[in-house]
Assembly symmetry: C2
Homo-oligomer: 666 residues x 2
């Protein structure tokens, strides 16, 4: 048995086409307005010239072509970028071809210079330009210009140099660059490119527990009164003023009471403990229902409307697990695992037991469960939700996500799914490949400048064509040791890296207040909001400066296209391991504004001491040439500096933990 016959390599071989995931097994990803570089290795026998064309087919079937110039002659690498203007499924291919005009021109120049074979050169020029003029599809005006050049080549009244010069005039050259004579055209396979709306790449998320906002302890009843959608909505203008795009609500559904967790994850909840919103489902309903204490569907719709009015999208937590009190448990026991004794399986990580949670089983009635979950999403999409933060997607089958994401995409291509898969790298990447729009990352676990620099470089590389990282300095589940001890300075530094290191980032409410006390022995907040109401005195934020910093960062992100892309990031060496410096750059051709843009970020990782360093800067990383100083303006302080191939920065807790320096480009 042998494998299927493969097509021939072709007359002008094209190989190594990218971006591609396993030769098109999954699509590469982009958003509207984002430049997608396409590359290919192209070669031919001998020394004659080749050319390459990028052919892009839009979702509506429209095809556009553009030349792919040679980027690296030694490696036979050709490259051009395409900027999709609509959402949908594109395909691209690369065409390689023999370029007889360039071949002739190269030979003609050498021979003319050497005074060799002049008549032959002229005759060969006539022949090749005739082929160009007669090429099918050649516009009449272009053909006229070419015949003019041919006539000049034949004009024996002129000297040979003048005859050849006419055939190489700038006009003729431009024509043949725009519409070249392409012979032996060899086409690559077609590669898929999925284009989403811009928010899929560029977004600032703000996470909140709606029940906390407006919650109050009633001294009379000695009981807590939950916040509601109405009280939570009062916070929306402040979130919008800070410049966020998406307000993400932790689960808003009824919460189970069986094995309910109490404060600080205790097993004995008191009657007044509201329970974790991740223990979804009670007699009041399941994933498609709203916790009665938050309000009604109408109240939720009002919240969404107010958010929209403030310029905010609403994202929901999508946590596919049930409390023992979820209606599905009795209505659809076939959607849960069963233990050998016939009981429904609760969550376990032996010997630990999580009896308040019943994981769903996707294998006993996959079709029934799928349709129910699909309908849950539809309920919230109908209510105006445009983004889902998916809790632990790596604990559900990949086939399930593959189907669900394709399905939602077909009818609601605007919906954004953010994957929360804090697990092994191959799984995190796989979820991105099969369709998640964004992914949480290992950002929080890169505590040093070196580790962070390496990670930024990695994310801006090959994976940037399918995985869109979202950087979160903290979440309701994560408070890393460095964040527990560094106070407001480390909160500031981390926010700067998150906001400028990736086009998507997110903040968990309370960040403004530098909430940094951990429950002993655990890397998460003490008095975790998951288990109790946590109303906040926002007035206290002013003194800490973080809210203002978040505002400035989001403003700066909006002003700078280079901060709205994952690629274009370069880490520059510093001589102090406590300071990270990276630049962000987008060229004029690849910028949605039509103007080049560059920002240089320098951040200290030491929240306790002043640190200084000399940065060895590579100006080529931002499209500048060595030896020419340039002016920058720090978006955080308004101060201006003149920087160049090397520059000195001093950062610290008492002055500023970072520069976010916009480069003044000519």
């Amino acid at each position: 048995m042998s494998s299927a016959p493969r097509p021939s390599v072709g007359r002008i071989p094209v190989l190594g086409v990218g971006p591609s995931l396993e030769e098109g097994r999954w699509p590469a990803k982009a958003v509207v307005g984002e430049a997608v570089p396409v590359w290919a290795t192209i070669m031919r026998e001998g020394h004659d010239a080749v050319g390459a064309t990028l052919v892009v087919t839009a979702p509506d079937g429209t095809t556009t072509s553009k030349p792919m110039p040679c980027q690296d002659f030694g490696m036979s690498l050709y490259r051009a970028s395409t900027i999709p203007s609509t959402t949908g499924d594109y395909v691209f291919a690369v065409e390689a071809w023999s370029d007889p005009v360039t071949t002739w021109r190269t030979v003609a120049e050498v021979k003319l210079h050497a005074g060799q074979d002049i008549q032959l050169v002229l005759a060969e020029g006539v022949a090749v330009l005739e082929r160009a003029a007669e090429q099918p599809g050649r516009a009449a005006a272009d053909a006229r210009l070419l015949y003019g050049a041919i006539a000049a080549l034949r004009d024996t009244r002129l000297d040979p140099e003048a005859r050849v010069a006419a055939a190489m005039s700038p006009k003729v050259r431009a024509l043949l660059e725009r519409a070249p004579l392409r012979e032996w055209v060899t086409r690559s396979a077609q590669y898929p490119l999925r284009v989403d709306r811009e928010r899929a790449l560029v977004s600032a998320w703000y996470e909140m527990f709606p029940r906390s906002e407006g919650a109050r302890y009633d001294a009379a009843t000695k009981a807590w009164v939950s916040g509601t959608f109405a009280t939570a909505a009062r916070r929306l203008p402040a979130i919008a003023r800070m410049g966020f795009d998406i307000v993400y609500l932790t689960p808003i559904h009824p919460i189970g009471t069986t094995f309910r967790k109490g404060r600080n994850n205790s097993l004995d909840a008191g009657p007044d403990d509201p329970g974790s919103p991740y223990a979804i489902g009670s007699p009041d309903g399941g994933h498609d229902a709203i916790h009665p204490q938050l309000g009604t569907l109408a109240d939720f719709l009002a919240f969404v409307a107010k958010a929209k009015k403030s310029g905010l999208e609403v994202g929901l937590d999508f946590a596919l697990q049930c409390s023992p009190d979820h209606p599905w448990v009795t209505e659809h026991p076939e959607w849960f695992g069963v233990r050998a004794d016939g009981s429904i399986a609760y969550a376990e990580n032996p010997p630990k037991k999580y009896q308040d949670i019943y994981p769903l089983s996707f294998d006993r009635d996959p079709e029934g469960l799928y349709l129910a979950i699909r309908e849950v999403l539809e309920v919230w999409i109908r209510a105006g939700v445009t983004a889902f933060r998916v809790d632990n997607p790596h604990t559900k089958p990949l086939t399930f996500w593959e189907r669900l994401l394709a399905d939602v995409r077909a009818s609601h291509p605007e919906i954004i799914f953010l994957s929360e898969a804090f697990t092994l790298p191959p799984m995190m990447h796989m979820l991105a490949k099969i369709g998640f729009h964004q992914s949480y990352t290992y950002f929080t676990w890169r505590p040093t400048a070196t580790e962070m620099g390496d990670y930024l470089t990695e994310l801006a590389g090959a994976s940037s064509y399918y995985m869109r990282p979202s950087f979160w300095p903290t979440t309701h589940d994560i408070l890393t040791p460095d964040m527990q001890s560094g106070g407001a300075p480390i909160f500031a530094a981390r926010a700067v890296i998150a906001a400028t290191g990736s086009p998507s980032w997110g903040i968990y409410s309370g960040y403004e207040l530098v909430e940094n006390v951990a429950r002993p022995g655990v890397e998460e907040q003490i008095d975790n909001e998951k288990y109790e109401y946590k109303p906040r005195e926002w007035a206290r934020a002013r003194r800490l400066g973080i809210a203002q910093l978040l505002t400035t960062l989001n403003e700066t992100r909006r002003a700078h296209p280079s901060l709205q892309r994952m690629r274009g990031l370069t880490v520059h060496p510093t001589d102090n391991p406590a300071i990270l410096c990276f630049s962000r750059h987008v060229s004029a051709q690849e910028s949605p504004t039509g103007f080049a843009d560059a920002v240089i970020v320098a951040v200290s990782f030491d929240p306790f001491h002043e640190q200084a360093t000399t940065v060895t800067f590579d100006p080529a990383a931002i499209g500048l040439t060595s030896g020419h100083p340039f002016a920058v303006e720090d978006a955080l302080t308004g101060q201006t500096y003149e920087w160049g191939d090397t520059f000195y920065v001093k950062l610290g807790p008492r002055t500023s933990m970072a520069h976010v320096a916009a480069v003044r480009l000519a």
Copy 2:
């Protein structure tokens, strides 16, 4: 328009399968007896166990399976190797599956230890082993063993530990490792693997101009008398004694007289100049003919027979170009390029002209020319030629080679083609991908230890799955500056690296005599054998030691499987940039002998001075553990040393330029 629908990712996704060239666009390559590692990234949702199986289908359709163990848990990487036993086109695939037995075992061990859910653990064990026993295709004896384990799990007379222990007995484990319970089996695509005979990877070539061997100047006639196949054959026993496998003859065809080149590439050949054998074709015939001065076809057959008797294969130069006197020029002018004035195009690199050479044109009558060339090969294959050294394949279309190589392979799978493509890396690699068995490399242009170490590392990496490098310290066209000045010591050092750094290497006759004088201004021999007879006084070789070294190197290559593979090469740091150290290793499982094998090579790049270094050696590279010294024996000197994590070597022109140290493995 959207791209074709792709198959689902599958329940237990398999991705990143290799070795693969663009997902099977071209086959990976191996030879009979060579271990081919196959790898894949495999994952699943949650924490349950997965397993992987490598499925290999041989050319005759026979399918074999073997377990793929997890090699890197963090990267979800699985790996196993297969050793093909016949030539032909194989395919392989990877199956990933849920492993419920391991999942149960892991949970059972933890819960038993914690005294938790004991009855449940026992009942779940029964259920999972029942599934295993009832699996279709389960051998009766295996099923009996499993039912025994199930009975023990149910045996309430025993304590729980004993009941579980019975289900985890070594016998049951071994059975389930050999024939596991595989659920939700997910299969990767099939990937092609082309298997050639061993000589395609492991070969020592010896190049000679047959007309030189036995040529003599006749003082009476004052003219040269050409060597013949008969006189050349006298050299065969010596070549065989040095341990070479293939004697490769530069072109043996009639040589043109029009624009014949004289001594040292001069344009004015004298009547006595024999001409370059690369200017093929005269009234005596073309590529299918023999130069009358060398003999007849019968003489050539006798030469081949003598070679075979000495254990040598015969390789021919395959130079697809013609002298103006080639019969094809008049019989088939359509096989050549035509200039605008109607004349046949000679070779040019403007402003240089090579009027003694007419390149073939593959585009005017591709079918006619193809069939003629195919028949030329058939003539020589019928005459017993088993290898072709292909001159400048990169100047002919890749589609031509793709067709020709597939065609010859179909009827003569034993024929080996060696590509001489000294051009850009992508073309060199492309020729390997589309079917050339071996390739000349940039070996000669890596004059420092660092450059050579990097290059060896590169060749032993990803490209080793399709490109088999052949290392030549010199050829009739190449004499690099370092080889011109370093005398016998550099000839020795280069031979050591060529013979031990790659499983294929080659020597151009005269190397034994340290012929190292270049024509001024050119990196090739003065009085180049291409343009004149060059009989050699072989007796002079003894004094220089190179012939003896070549013999020792070929003997050592035969004795060590690790030198017969491209992979398994590791470069080890030295503290002296003049010394390169690398190890070669093959494990017992991957060795054709069944025994592990390791050789450590240390070579000096300084032919003028003694050099010493400490090598920082990584014993893991040869399957040993750190901290345990090991004994080695130098194949060049017979001396033994005790080496370890670091060792000291001293090399130089007066003692030895290299160690080729066989490691005594337990």
